[in-house]
Symmetry: C2
Subunit: 144 residues, 2 copies
Amino acid sequence: MVDYDEAIGFNTVKTGKHITRLLNSRLKPYNLTAEQWTVLKRLDQQGDSSQKRLAEASDKDQATLTKILDLLESHAFIERVKNPNDRRSFLVCLTPKGRELTKSIYTVIEEIFEQIVAGLSTEELSNYQDVLRKIIHNIQDIKD
Amino acid sequence: MVDYDEAIGFNTVKTGKHITRLLNSRLKPYNLTAEQWTVLKRLDQQGDSSQKRLAEASDKDQATLTKILDLLESHAFIERVKNPNDRRSFLVCLTPKGRELTKSIYTVIEEIFEQIVAGLSTEELSNYQDVLRKIIHNIQDIKD
DNA sequence: TAAATATAATTTGTGCACTAATTATTTTTA
DNA sequence: TAAAAATAATTAGTGCACAAATTATATTTA
């Protein structure tokens, strides 16, 4: 009988933690953490966004995102602009400084991941992604 | 060009988070969190242990474990006993209450994971585990 | 159209994860 | 064997994740 709590649960969380920690150590010289990078990346990908939309895209809750944005704003990587269409919300925008930084971090991140996936075949990684997708899907089904 | 930051990094962390959140919601009636369960499970598996050994076995740092143990101790699930062989350390022990709880949680956890892995073949899950193992191994090599 | 309901962002409180520093104790070095 | 170095556990500080509550604003209902 396979112990999935261990094999899937603990080990997925552990792997995620170690990836995050590695990224954090490499991003430290840029005054960035892995979580903050996720937010910058989403802003770069989808353009100026409301916080709600940003939270959804980066899989973070509103409360957590507020804190992360506060930090990014304090470093002048982003700014919050009043949303002309809805006074309850802001549009979050990359500053020129933030845009410049984001561009250079793509390279840093890419190099790290080349090391992280070294020795794994395209097929192995593709299968891995399928399983991740199915697990997330299963969890969402349980919740409904 | 596959974006491994997204496909592997973000999605592994996301999946881990969602598993943890699901477990937390199911363990809440027992006054337990997923992380606390990990510690109880390790104690059950390896018997009375020093904090250092427990931290290693549960992939937590000493500081974090201290806090988790404080909570478990406050609920009388565990107790810290002076280590007769080394005055710098304690032996952490399950109380009868904690042992009883641990036994019943195994069943709860097993049912959740049956749902989490539903529809995934033994082979798929086995391959998934292999990739996790290799990623962790790669990360450890990078650190050395 | 006014009232009821829902929503965006923030704050508060709690539980983790991580690093650095600290104190008492043990181990190693010279 | 005394001094230096290492170690176990804890504390303090910072960054997240999550749930609940709150306030101003938008949407829906009757």
